[in-house]
Assembly symmetry: C2
Homo-oligomer: 329 residues x 2
């Protein structure tokens, strides 16, 4: 026979309502009482039926997470950060992967929304308007991580504009004056736009007029990096290049090797992200490291504290991580 909350309440000598609140992490109870109830629930084999709980609980503890199927490798770092904090604060994550196809996306999002959710976190997702409309029509909080959207959705990400200053300043200090930016040419992406503007303004700050031809490559793909050397031709019209993701930087590094361009002697490379990928190349990639775990943790914390409001933008830390791909001129 199924164990009910009443059974646990009888054993614990408190009310069923209190047991329910403890098991759903609501209300305030002494640590001893809460622990005793949880232990009893364990021992007596009580499994909260979450589907029933979803229906009856006004404030769900479930947070939906949308992850693009073709995601960059930092997504795992963000999910780890979310998972850790969600566990800490008593929330549960439901992760769904989004295919590229819009009809698939709509169906997946609707299915996720049919559950009682406290919030939906979009993990580095750029959504078509049709999918977006489904999300905004739903009665749930929305939050974008590692991406800034242009429509009042709160977001947690690095300060992409300032990050480009950090990179350009670093290269300038090493003597570089001709610098290219690869993989941030997408006119529709807010992040790419912020990076372009930061790049241009940082160069201007140092008295360098930027050359529009040196901003090239729509996406953060390995292939974009790989095609960079061929696109510009050797000798390259720049001494340093910024890859807008680690995998772009690896593409540039390999293309340079293939074309006989020595890194860093003939070409310096800095990448954005600073994931583990930067450590498995030879030479190791110099990178500006984003704090993806922090993004994930903050996402859960702000949802838990209900400090989300439209247009909230939270910036997380970035740090220069010197590797072996930048030369001093």
């Amino acid at each position: 026979m199924a164990i009910t909350i009443k059974d646990i309440a009888n054993r614990a000598g408190i009310s069923a309502a209190s047991v329910s609140r403890i098991l759903t992490n609501r209300g305030r109870f002494s640590a001893a009482t809460a622990q005793r109830v949880r232990q009893l629930a364990e021992e007596m084999g009580y499994y909260k039926n979450q589907s029933a709980a979803d229906l009856s609980q006004k404030a769900s503890r479930v947070i939906g997470v949308l992850v693009p199927t073709t995601h960059t490798n930092f997504a795992d770092e963000i999910i780890k950060g979310m998972q850790r904090q969600a566990f800490e604060l008593g929330f549960e994550l439901l992760i769904v992967f989004l295919e590229d196809d819009v009809q698939h996306q709509i169906k997946t999002v609707k299915s996720l929304l049919s559950r009682q959710l406290l919030a939906v976190v979009m993990l580095a997702v750029d959504l078509e308007t049709a999918v977006f409309d489904v999300l905004t029509a739903a009665d749930t909080h929305l939050l974008s991580i590692s991406n800034q959207l242009n429509n009042g959705i709160p977001s947690i990400s690095s300060d992409n504009y300032a990050m480009m200053h950090t990179i350009v300043d670093y290269l300038y200090d090493q003597g570089h004056r001709q610098v290219a930016l690869i993989g941030a040419a997408d006119p529709d992406s807010v992040v790419a736009t912020l990076r372009r503007q930061g790049f241009i303004d940082a160069l201007a700050k140092h008295g360098i007029r930027y050359n529009p031809a040196l901003i090239w490559g729509i996406d953060n793909a390995y292939k974009t990096g790989l095609e960079t050397i061929q696109n510009f031709g050797v000798p390259l019209p720049f001494t340093a290049v910024i890859g807008s993701a680690d995998i772009v930087g690896i593409g540039i590094l390999n293309a340079a090797k293939d074309a006989g361009v020595a890194v860093p002697d003939d070409l310096s490379i800095i990448t954005v992200d600073g994931t583990n990928l930067t450590q498995i190349t030879r030479p190791r990639l110099t990178a500006v490291q984003q704090d993806f775990a922090q993004m994930g943790e903050l996402a859960i914390t702000t949802i838990a504290n209900q400090t989300l409001s439209p247009n909230t933008i939270i910036f997380t830390d970035v740090e220069m991580r010197p590797g072996d791909t930048v030369a001093s001129l």
Copy 2:
């Protein structure tokens, strides 16, 4: 006011039961009828309340997926394959990441199981007995992907024993007689055990007595690969090495570069997995490629067709993918 199945049925001129079956992908209906009902549901703003559906539906369409938080990069390929097929067949995936900590795992698994699930898929997971007991006590199908477990749980994976024959045969044909196996020394892992035995038997088949010292490294980690050269010392006591994962192979490749060992002239490298990582190294890694997308698709198909039974083992395809890291002696 919420739109009900009855409202849709009235508009469509069929029974509410039929609408329900169409919207939950059960029963047989003409494509035209099914499409009309789905379109009406869309237009009328009907969102099936999945939590209510979970409770009332005997046969859930929801499949839980357990992914280790520290997973190898092929997990994404498996999830993509599952996602594609799940969408095709009208199933929904609930993905949860498992932290390393056992208490966290138990809590996460219990929370997942509190939903009405058709099956739980374990994605390359090795679980402690305590966690495993929770899973097996639940009234749901279990399936292991990319891992063979030792306890009657059905599994879908490459034929790890035969795969080692494929690799050793390939190396033998290129003239290699001293071969090391790195990252498969874990005595507790079924997969590692199968690989070791396949390795030993394949060598024996060619009249080579294996040297126990040449099976080294417990885990499939980059660090294990990186420490390989130093562990054996230069000159290496083998001409070829098998890395039990791409990232192990990259570690060996980098360690060889750092130690001045030329690949493939002084050392040949083959890795197991054949993910995109093998394409972003210079030289490109020769690999035996596992079909991870096929594993994911088959997982959903076998669950849908209810062809799972204890001890079922389904092997997926493997293929030699020559790169530039194996020399002919």
